[in-house]
């Protein structure tokens, strides 16, 4: 049962550890600025967490070949599935 629970928890970018990679699965279009999507934050794209500032905020990522930093509040809205 525990195992089932684990797989059901939704991962977001915030759950990545520095160096880990995820694939963006989903986010609410209303809440994610167009600019971020245009910088490559789109479903299906790969995102790698490079570094986090203290308190996990902001987060420094590389997505679709771009290097950028976003705040935690935004990162929490972007769902991903982790890649080993």
């Amino acid at each position: 049962m525990l195992k089932e629970l684990k797989t059901n928890i939704i991962n977001t970018i915030v759950n990545l550890k520095p160096g880990e990679i995820g694939i963006i699965t989903n986010f609410s279009v209303d809440q994610i600025p167009v600019k971020l999507q245009e910088m490559g934050c789109l479903p299906g794209n790969e995102v790698r967490l490079i570094q986090v500032a203290p308190f996990n905020d902001p987060l420094f990522l590389s997505v679709n070949g771009n290097f950028l930093a976003i705040r935690k509040e935004t990162a929490e809205l972007i769902e991903i599935s982790k890649v080993a």
Partner: protein
């Protein structure tokens, strides 16, 4: 007959637009490795190979035509307004070869506006080290455009670019992505509602609403059209973005390849340290420390030299030129006044050198990353760090640099608090007062004067942050926060760019300040050497009759006469009229005059005192000596004593005494409201704090 065509340089931030602009036009606009160096439109001309002339417009970088900050807005407004004088006949889209994929997104959008478009792929010098291979012909064919490979650092490809610009008429203007494919139903309806309008432009106006409406009056009812469907619009925008990337990926798959094994890069290693939770802050702190160290210690040698040269020059003038009013004006007004500014050249040069290196290396974005969280507590953004740091040079470019902060409230607060940071114009004032009232002693290995100066810088930042905290509570937040900052790759600062910035900025500081000071010192000198009252004209008789003969030496009497005359000159009369208002702060009428004249610009303070203290004085003492010996007539104590000095330092730390700052804040906030509030608040606050300090200490 030759003609002139408008050519706009458009592209993502930090792709080298300004570097190319400088090469084309021979101008020297500022370049830097931070997204958002250019925040306003810059223009220049370029002669084309066919004899025509290009009117080249350098624009702020933009990620897309969906503008999200004030500098990006400018680009969209230009492209959607065919009536504009600058409406481009040709768009040159500048891209960075390392970020081609993302850069092409904007390219497809611009191409869809059906403007003739050239694709410039810049930074060609990086192709090899990054292991990139590129098929230009294939790109040209698939993108329906002309591609020019450029390296502005190596000055490669510029001639070819000029050639292409000259032949812009041959460019194909078909678009890249057909919106109708995204949602046939929606776009058919939209097209129907506004027949005759270009669909993509229509869509841009619909999706961005209000800000773009003023451009095209025909689309006025669009507002209602868009308000009903915000969510739907966002969904369509996402689909559009995906569609564009599909188009781009399909092309790049064949035409662009990166062989990672061949790529050489140190950004990974550097970022692990420079953005580290702990080490990142240590490095940042060390860099700041080094910067202040350089400004205060390294520059003292050239400063002493300049100081001596000017006082020698002044003496020489006095001894060599025939005695008279003109010589007095030169040796007592102009030379000390100008010298008072030139002496700060070494410090200002160091300041600009550091800021320029921070910007050119790519480190600035890392500071933004490190500081965002802290700054947010005070209603600022990590991006506010850039204005606050560059504000130590001058508040005017700093206020403008706030343009790339997306959130209006964060931007407004940044604009309002930036003038608290210790700008280079405050330095002269601080240094002279510190020299007068703070003992030149060493405590625990630190020089007390140096510590005081450092303390004033900390005070400036502290006050900026504190004011932000208050403003954050007071100003109602209208816009939603979001924050995206690009982290550019590290670059070795180009010596040419850095030196150029340093020389140019320092020169303009001296010229601008020099002009004001020259003018003011002439006026002041005149006002101080003339008067209308009986007391002024009969100063000698009055003073002699008052002092009983024999008690004073002849030279003392002469000094007394000169000072009596100064008190009753035009300037003395004005100064004494305002004295009651500034007495609680510990100032006399001379400081009052300096205060008034420095309302246009702070650095005038020193020049003013230099002039006042030179008039009618023949002794060879330096201005500083005269100031330190001056006695306040009312209290009988030294005028520049400790309480008065501290009160002056605090006044100059907080008061907004800079016309240019007021003007730029008015421009950036579109009205008089904020600059006036800022002026009132800062000056009122300065007055109160200075008064409290004096009353407590005296």
């Amino acid at each position: 007959m030759s003609k002139t065509i408008n050519v706009a340089l458009i592209g993502n931030p930090n792709t080298g637009k300004t570097s190319i602009f400088n090469l084309l036009t021979g101008l020297k606009q500022k370049v830097g490795n931070y997204p958002g160096i250019t925040v306003e439109k810059k223009e220049g001309f370029c002669k084309l190979p066919n004899g025509d002339k290009a009117h080249v417009i350098d624009l702020p970088g933009t990620y897309s035509l969906n503008a999200s900050s004030a500098d990006e807005q400018l680009v969209v407004e230009l492209l959607l307004n065919p009536q504009s004088q600058d409406y481009p006949e040709l768009a040159v889209v500048v891209t960075d070869v390392e970020n081609l994929k993302r850069n092409l997104l904007l390219f497809t959008q611009i191409k869809d506006l059906n403007v003739p478009t050239v694709l410039v792929i810049n930074m060609a010098d990086q192709i090899e080290r990054r292991g990139i291979s590129l098929d230009i012909d294939l790109l040209e064919k698939n993108l329906n455009t002309k591609v020019v490979l450029v390296s502005s650092r190596k000055n490669v490809g510029i001639e070819q670019l000029k050639e292409t610009v000259a032949n812009y008429k041959q460019l194909n203007t078909t678009g890249c992505v057909d919106l109708r494919k995204i949602d046939p139903g929606y776009f058919a309806k939209l097209e129907d509602a506004y027949r005759g309008e270009d669909l993509y432009q229509l869509w841009l106006v619909v999706s961005q609403g209000e800000p773009l409406l003023k451009i095209n009056k025909n689309l006025l009812p669009v507002n209602e059209y868009s308000e009903r469907n915000t969510s739907e619009i966002k969904r369509l925008q996402q689909k559009e973005t995906i569609e564009r990337y599909l188009f781009i990926n399909k092309i790049l798959k064949k035409a662009y390849n990166v062989d990672i094994t061949k790529a050489k890069d140190w950004r990974g290693v550097l970022d692990r340290i420079l953005t580290h939770k702990f080490w990142g802050y240590i490095v940042f702190f060390m860099i700041m420390l080094l910067m202040f160290q350089a400004i205060y210690n390294w520059s003292s040698i050239p400063m002493d030299f300049i100081d001596q040269s000017f006082s020698r020059f002044s003496e020489w003038t006095k001894n060599t030129l025939p005695a008279g009013a003109l010589t007095d004006l030169l040796s007592e007004g102009v030379i000390p006044g100008v010298g008072g500014i030139v002496i700060f050249v070494p410090q200002i040069a160091f300041l600009f050198l550091f800021i320029s290196i921070l910007e050119e290396s790519g480190y600035m974005s890392r500071i933004v990353f490190l500081m965002d969280r802290v700054m947010r507590r005070f209603g600022l953004s990590g991006k506010s760090v850039v204005p606050l740091i560059s504000g130590t040079a001058c508040a005017i470019p700093a206020v403008m640099a706030s343009r790339n902060i997306e959130n209006w409230k964060e931007r407004l607060i940044t604009i309002l608090v930036t003038p608290f940071t210790t700008c280079s114009a405050r330095l002269p004032v601080y240094l002279i007062i510190i020299a007068l009232v703070i003992p030149d002693q060493t405590v625990l290995g630190f020089n007390v004067q140096g510590l005081t100066l450092m303390g004033l810088y900390v005070l400036g930042f502290g006050m900026a942050v504190f004011a932000a905290f208050i403003l954050n509570k007071v100003i109602k937040n209208r816009s939603r926060t979001f924050f995206v900052v690009e982290m550019p790759g590290y670059k070795l600062p180009l010596l040419k760019n850095v030196l150029y910035t340093v020389i140019e900025k320092t020169k303009s500081f001296v010229l601008v300040a020099g002009k004001i000071i020259l003018a003011i010192s002439i006026v002041l000198w005149f006002l101080a050497s003339n008067g209308y009252s009986d007391e002024f004209h009969h100063a000698e008789e009055i003073v002699r009759s008052q002092s009983q003969s024999g008690q004073l030496s002849e030279s003392d009497i002469e000094t007394a006469i000169a000072s009596y005359q100064l008190r009753h000159s035009y300037i003395g009369t004005v100064g004494r009229a305002i004295e009651p208002a500034i007495r609680p702060l510990g100032y006399d009428w001379k400081i009052g005059i300096a205060l008034i004249s420095s309302f246009a610009a702070r650095e005038v303070f020193v020049g003013t005192l230099a002039t006042i203290y030179s008039v009618g004085n023949d002794e060879e003492a330096t201005i500083k000596q005269r100031m330190s010996e001056d006695v306040n007539q009312r209290t009988g104590r030294k005028l520049f004593n400790f309480p008065t000095g501290i009160s002056l330092l605090l006044f100059y730390a907080f008061a907004l005494q800079c016309m240019s700052t007021i003007a730029i804040v008015k421009k950036e906030t579109n009205g008089w409201k904020w600059p006036l509030i800022q002026l009132g608040f800062m000056s009122g606050f300065a007055y109160i704090v200075a008064m409290l300090a004096y009353q407590l200490l005296a």
